[in-house]
Amino acid sequence: MKGSPAGSDDRSAILEVEHLDIGFTNYGRRVQVLHDVSLSVGQGERVALIGQSGSGKTVTMRAIIGTLAMPPGDIAGGNIRFQGRELLTLGKSERNRLKGGGLSIVLQDPLLSFNPVLTISRQMDDIVRYADVRAGVTRSKRRRRQHLVDTLERVQLADTERVLSSWPMQLSGGMRQRVLIAMALLNSPSLLIADEPGTALDVTTQQEILALLNRLVEDGLSLLLITHNLGVVREMADRVYVMEHGRIVESGARESLFDAPSHPYTRKLMASVPPLYGERVRKVDNTGSTPLLSLESVTREFVSERPFFGKRRAPLRAVDQVSIDIDKGDVFGIAGESGSGKTTLARMLLGLTRPTSGVVRLGGQPVHELARQSSFRRRLQIVYQNPGSSLNPKRRIAQQLAVPLRYAGLTRGAIRSRIPELLEQVGLPQSHASRYPHELSGGQKQRVAIARALSVEPEIIVLDEPTSALDVLVQETVVELLLDLRKQYGLTYVFISHDLSLMRNFCNRVAVMYRGAVCEQGDTATLFDAPRHAYTRALIAAIPVISDAEEARKPAVTRLEREAVLVSTTG
């Protein structure tokens, strides 16, 4: 991977941020959000700014682009220079001239970045048209259109006519991301700022998007990447800045950072990325266990809605002939990307949905029969992905923990003594019992969700992406908690996720789902060390890892195989 030599005194620096201090006033209190932040991006360089949520990376980005809301934010000091020009003192119209021109951005969430009621061509044309106005140039409609098509082709979208005439919601996530990049490229920027590119997408799609960005850099673009993902940084950056609590704690060339991180925070970050290979992989075992939960040729079909006029479409098979056996004490991982059917599978395990054909059995008995009994609820519980949504924002923690206990038949007194126990088990202070969810952090909320699932002493807990909404540092503590609880209470977990590296360090057995069917399953070590199915291999190969050694051990995937199994985002 190429890159220019590191050094913030590079004379061809395109972007220079020096000693930036930004504060934020909320409810009458002012908080210092950025402390003395300095970074630079050189010509043709790929620079990454990495930090977890709350690190200040988004604020920095907003300050550079100029979309920082000035009350309540304020810039207390520092400079931002783009191509030698000071941005902070520019007037509004001057700023506008730069936007969509020299400096361009690609925002995080593809869907939210589009105006939902305008077509793609309309939105793209606006960008071009007003850039022309600013430059004092006029281009005919046809020439502008051609420019749109050319740019879309540059991001490797095939059916440009269809894309242009679509509304944002009609395109897939991957295509939207490409269109976003195209929109950023329309006015030939010199610097592209990308905010968490591909994070909202499947890891295989993300891989394609990152490759696209690399290709654009080869053509002469400079890139500033804002992300929380170390693996992405390793693949994409020449130089790296690490942010914590509004400060740059470490910076340097990619190689030196990954080989020998100096700051304790950086080292902590590196350590918390779950390894795919090598000694650091956590081994989870389950010896001598009995079968507990089984799926026998389970299929679930959905009949799609009929459009007003038109033929009836064939039913959608969300889950296709899946057979899985889960033993007591297993940490069983179900891996898959969006659309793989894993969520539907989870719902069938819990008895919330009935299979169209096939049976789900718990301890030999069919789940849909058991689900009618109240005792079933004590045996099977769930922890959801998003603690913000799985906890009722308007009820106190203690009240919410009490609900499953009440319906399990405990007396009030018993409940009152059980709640402090539960809080202690998940490592939360007693004071949290009387708080509301919004007073807790994400990790703390998830612990409450775990406590709630634990309260009825279930046999099995289904974990639906329990750490996806959390920072990588917090993830690790939650996983440790879960493993600890498993040992204490002899729990069985069903872990549903798209995060394979986490699965590697948490599960003892894994099933990979692809388009509703299980394409491969087995114990974790075997699956990762010697994956057989093309999709499994493609999935593992797409994981961003943080060491060259790991990269070398990844399975090989031929181009033909890749094209066969991966959903193309090029339209």
Partner: protein, 340 residues
């Protein structure tokens, strides 16, 4: 687009059917004998019985309902006990006046509230914003009849510039026979003196009627614009360098106007209701006046007719708003297609 409109029209037709049945049920279920009520306490038993037979009140409930619905289908609303003419004719005579007033009011509301709301949002927290908020507050808070009386007081007694009652100066000899709407017909007949005079007569009652709605809609427009402006894609479009006024106009307004339009549709119901008061105060010869008179006289058929017509108004107005929303926001079309 067409199937969308058709679907909406069908569902609204169902609403109208439900409305008709409901009105009928209320009219029959309410205690008291309609015939006796209409004739008053001094009528003899024989007279009451005769009226009962004439009104079909002696037949079983279901038969009455059936007759009612079938006559509705034929657009027969029965006879008014007060005027002794078919209710439909009475209404047809009185309707244009109300229609004109209501449409003029709507126009006024849209012209005033949406631009003001947008301006208030764009110039947030400046004097413009505060002024608009005061105006909208006054509009919402002032009772319609108080405003009507106040306007009459100020405009005609103090300043003597606007007339207090009626639609047209008696000296101007003109009848609106094409559409019934003075504003339209006068232009068609090229009688600009009539047009101006009609406008002068319209301004006061329309303002009194409009103010409450203006207040609500302006406020909703403002808050809707503010909410939309903080959305990601707006930030994105600014970052792309699209000028602020285009961002405000094309990007924000199209989305932001969904909320005010919806409110406008709901406001319509109270608009009709408030029209009753305004027509009463300004002696405006519309169906509301007709309604009030017949209600006080307990003329059942006429009352039912008036309520039905008001309901139709509401239903049609909401259909129009739905269609406009469907044009503006493609997601609305898809959402509506999915629900019943």
């Amino acid at each position: 687009m067409i199937p969308y409109i058709a679907k909406r029209a069908v569902s609204l037709l169902l609403v109208f059917l439900g409305l008709a049945v409901l009105i009928f049920v209320i009219a029959r279920v309410v205690p008291g004998d309609p015939a006796r009520i209409a004739l008053g306490p001094l009528a003899t038993a024989a007279q009451v019985e005769e009226l009962q037979q004439e009104m079909g009140l002696d037949k079983p409930f279901v038969v009455q309902l059936g007759n009612y619905l079938s006559s509705l289908a034929r657009a027969d609303l029965g006879k008014s006990l007060l005027t002794n003419r078919p209710v439909l004719d009475d209404i047809r005579q009185a309707l244009p006046a109300t229609l004109e007033l209501v449409l003029f009011t709507l126009l006024l509301q849209i012209i005033l509230s949406i631009p003001l709301g947008v301006v208030a949002a764009v110039y947030r927290n400046t004097w413009v914003d505060n002024l608009s908020r005061i105006i909208s507050l006054v509009g919402i808070v002032t009772p319609g009849f108080v405003l009507a009386i106040l306007l009459q007081l100020l405009a005609s007694y103090q300043f003597e510039s606007f007339p207090v009652t009626g639609r047209l100066d008696r000296s101007l000899d003109f009848t609106a026979d094409v559409t019934g709407l003075l504003l339209v017909d006068s232009v068609l007949a090229w009688r600009w003196d009539v047009f101006l005079d009609a406008v002068r007569h319209l301004i006061l009652p329309a303002t009194a009627l409009a103010m409450a709605g203006v207040g609500q809609v302006m406020r909703i427009t403002r808050s809707s614009m503010i909410e939309v402006s903080s959305r990601d894609f707006v930030e994105a479009s600014r970052a792309y360098g699209i000028p602020e006024r285009v961002v405000a106009g094309r990007y924000m307004l199209r989305i932001a106007c969904v909320a005010p339009l919806t409110i406008l549709g709901l406001e319509f119901a109270s608009l009709i209701g408030n029209a009753f008061i305004v027509e009463f105060v300004f002696s405006w010869p519309g169906i509301a006046s007709y309604g009030v008179r017949t209600i006080l006289q307990k003329d059942l058929n006429a009352v039912i007719g008036v309520v039905l017509v008001s309901g139709v108004f509401f239903v049609v107005a909401n259909l129009v708003i739905d269609v406009i929303l469907g044009l503006v926001d493609p997601r609305h079309r898809l959402r509506a297609a999915r629900s019943t």
